[in-house]
């Protein structure tokens, strides 16, 4: 079985989804059990995979036993292993939270959730451009369904934005993939990298066009300016566990940018090297600015958190735009931090909203909370972490990012990022003081929140201190990952020389 | 292929083409919808039939053994074409499409004196 480990992150949610979706109604206990167990299995598998990958060996799994570049391969390197682990950690928090009752607000929650994981994991693992498209579609369609879970106007409206934009994005992906196939004659990413390195001059323009249109697609997924508009309202409207899981979705776009451009348009690509860099860098900065404006304008906690997701996207993009080993390492650390924390915050926002009654998550005066103390403590932790104030993970992440910039980049990055941080500090302190301090008179009413919800939130937010305490081991891993990414020839060798790396 | 065979195939083919053409021509130039309906229903169907026979003949000649699978398409067309025409005529009647002035035996649904000149708008104004 061990030789199939790499495909487990796909098979487990696939099979779990099948079990869960076979019957539409009833069996909620069974479904919860299956879903949680599957997610736990995923967690275990991902940990094992991180263990395998941390040695630096690049493994691949040739589906259907068709060797690369002809068949579809799954590639396990440090980056993909890390993303898988991150996904499963996030998913566990979200799914446990959902088991407290959100899963019963519509049909098929758990099955869709597992298939959403299937899509995400597939996107992280695949080493094939078109297969990446397929997994993008899997994760998108699952996310469409999950976004609408529970219904309501806001969800429908934001769903229209989200779906239409992404549908157009899918068409663009096909165009880009088509051009790259037409110009390079292959779909395997590693093979593409090799072919780009030996590209005849008259095809460079084509590959440039393909590569850049692909960047639009990934930019749309990761919510870069000016393609981010779908994000804030969709994330704000999504049911809490779904929004939490969505925290990883923008990172799929970031991941794709790292994977594709560092591999195909690496140093070996000659004139095409670093094709995306300038765009990602400048637009990442602009995204930061836009997110800061959004953060300051938000009058609803969920929307605020959604814009915080955008802030993290901007930060990650500028990191990607710096395109150095240091910045990649900083990016990965920040990515782990921001995914888990924003995920946790979405869950927390739901709990707060429930206890505030009619006011929900709107930042207005409302009745006091029944479990205000505990909630405010968690909110405080989440807010500190997300703003990047010590002593929690965000501070380290931010410092790593700031330090990763070279002198020329600092001139732009530092003011932007610091002002954005300040904006989030201002907004979150206002939000926190409104939510927990500025309560209307009267005694709190409503019921206490279920334990499963607390577990979900604490599970995710505990990343904030843990990432600080274990900053060193984590960053050893991220640095090794960055180093692996900076040397894409190892991946191409592992995949395309027959004697090595095959499971 | 034998000359005769080829000639037959060619003839069949051209005949088919002509019918196809006539069917569409009728549809293009006749004066009212009910008359336009006749062309495609009959001529086009037969035209395709002819061409399929030509195809059958051709491949008989080339391959040496007869495959009459084209019959299947013809069968399908002969089953479906009249039904399409029937339904189309129904929609025409439903929408009370204009008919040529000299049409005789106009049924009640096309007569203004029976159902009024204009459709009475429904109170809820349709679903626009």
């Amino acid at each position: 079985m061990m030789q199939h480990l790499v495909v487990f992150p796909i098979v487990v949610p696939l099979v779990a989804g099948i079990l869960l979706l076979y019957r539409r109604e009833g069996l909620i206990r069974f479904k919860r059990a299956v879903s949680v167990v599957a997610t736990l299995m995923l967690l275990a598998v991902s940990m094992a995979l991180v263990g395998r990958a941390s040695s630096g060996e690049i493994l691949y799994y040739a589906l259907g036993d068709w060797q690369p570049p002809f068949g579809i391969v799954l590639v396990l390197d440090r980056l993909s292993a890390l993303m898988l682990l991150l996904t499963s950690v996030l998913a566990l928090g979200a799914v446990v939270f959902a088991c407290a009752g959100d899963d019963e607000k519509g049909s098929n929650f758990h099955g869709l959730f597992q298939w959403q994981l299937l899509g995400i994991n597939g996107a992280f693992l695949t080493g094939d451009l078109f297969n990446l498209f397929v997994f993008f579609e899997v994760l998108l369609l699952a996310s469409y369904a999950l976004l609408l879970h529970g219904g309501g106007k806001a969800r429908i409206q934001s769903g229209v934005y989200y779906v239409v934009m992404n549908l157009a994005g899918s068409s663009l992906f096909l165009i880009a993939a088509g051009i790259l196939y037409g110009a390079l004659g292959t779909l395997n990413l590693a093979d593409m990298a090799i072919r780009v390195a030996e590209l005849p001059a008259d095809r460079q323009g084509l590959v440039t066009a393909g590569g850049l249109i692909l960047l639009v697609v990934f930019g749309l997924k990761s919510a870069i300016l000016p393609l981010y508009f779908w994000l804030p309202r969709a994330y704000a409207a999504a049911p809490a566990p779904v929004a939490a899981l969505f925290a990883i979705m923008t990172k799929v776009g970031i991941y794709a940018i790292l994977r594709v451009y560092l591999l195909i348009f690496g140093d070996a690509a000659g004139p095409l090297a670093a094709l995306e860099q300038a765009w990602v860098w400048w637009l990442g900065l602009a995204t930061l600015v836009a997110s800061a404006v959004g953060i300051l304008s938000s009058r609803d906690l969920r929307l605020l958190i959604a814009y915080l997701v955008l802030l993290s996207v901007g930060t990650l993009l500028v990191c990607a735009g710096m395109r150095s080993e240091v910045s990649a390492s900083a990016l990965l650390y920040y990515l782990i931090h921001t995914t888990l924390i924003t995920g946790g915050l979405f869950l927390l926002a739901e709990m707060i909203g429930v206890q505030r009654g009619k006011a929900g998550t709107r930042l207005v005066k409302a009745r006091p909370l029944v479990q205000g103390k505990a909630l405010s403590l968690l909110f405080f932790i989440g807010a500190i972490a997300v703003v990047g104030v010590p002593p929690l993970s965000g501070a380290i992440g931010k410092a790593l990012v700031l330090a990763a910039a070279d002198d020329a980049q600092r001139l732009w990055l530092w003011p932007t990022l610091l002002f954005a941080s300040l904006a989030s500090l201002v907004a979150l302190s206002r939000a926190g003081s409104t939510l927990f301090w500025r309560s209307a008179h009267g005694s709190p009413s409503g019921s206490r929140l279920p334990a499963l919800q607390w577990f979900g939130v604490i599970w995710l937010l505990s990343a904030a201190p843990l990432l600080v305490v274990f900053a060193h081991p984590v960053s050893v891993y991220t640095q090794a990952t960055a180093e692996q990414l900076a040397n894409p020839e190892r991946l191409t060798e592992a995949l395309l020389s027959p004697s090595r790396g095959h499971l | 292929m034998a000359f005769i065979a080829e000639a037959l195939v060619s003839l069949m083919l051209v005949t088919g083409g002509v019918f196809v053409f006539i069917g569409s021509l009728g549809m293009a130039h006749l004066r009212d919808f009910y008359m336009r309906l006749h062309g495609p229903t009959k001529a086009s169907t037969l035209g395709i039939g002819c061409m399929l026979v030509a195809s059958m003949g051709y491949f008989w000649g080339v391959d040496g053994h007869i495959d009459i699978q084209e019959m299947l398409i013809t069968l399908f067309l002969f089953i479906t074409a009249p039904v399409s025409a029937h339904l189309l005529a129904k929609t025409g009647l439903h929408l009370r499409l204009k008919h040529a002035k000299k049409t005789g035996g106009v049924p009640f649904e096309l007569r203004d004196e029976e159902v009024g000149k204009k459709p009475v708008p429904h109170p809820d104004k349709g679903h626009g």
Partner: protein, 89 residues
């Protein structure tokens, strides 16, 4: 001879299709357009048959079969739509 016949027939079919397009575009009423579309489906079977004769193979037989079947169904659907609005009721 066959090639001449093919050319003639092709020309006729092409003209037929253009006539269909003409009717489709000018209408004037919905049933006219539906009729035009239906005829277009039928006539495209002719195109497929011609393609088969031209290329000398029967690879496209199923395509023709499907056009015959599906063209009908799509006409039915549109007619039902005009008649009843709700096509599956």
């Amino acid at each position: 001879m066959l090639s001449v016949a093919l050319t003639i027939t092709s020309t006729l079919v092409v003209i037929a299709l253009i006539l269909n397009l003409y009717r489709l575009v000018i209408g004037p009423d919905l049933p006219d357009r539906v009729l035009a579309l239906d005829t277009m489906y039928v006539n495209s079977i002719a195109l497929i048959v011609l393609l088969g004769l031209w290329l000398g193979g029967k690879t496209y037989f199923e395509s023709a079969l499907l056009i015959a079947m599906l063209g009908f169904i799509s006409t039915v659907a549109v007619c039902k739509y005009i008649l009843r609005g709700d096509i599956i009721e």
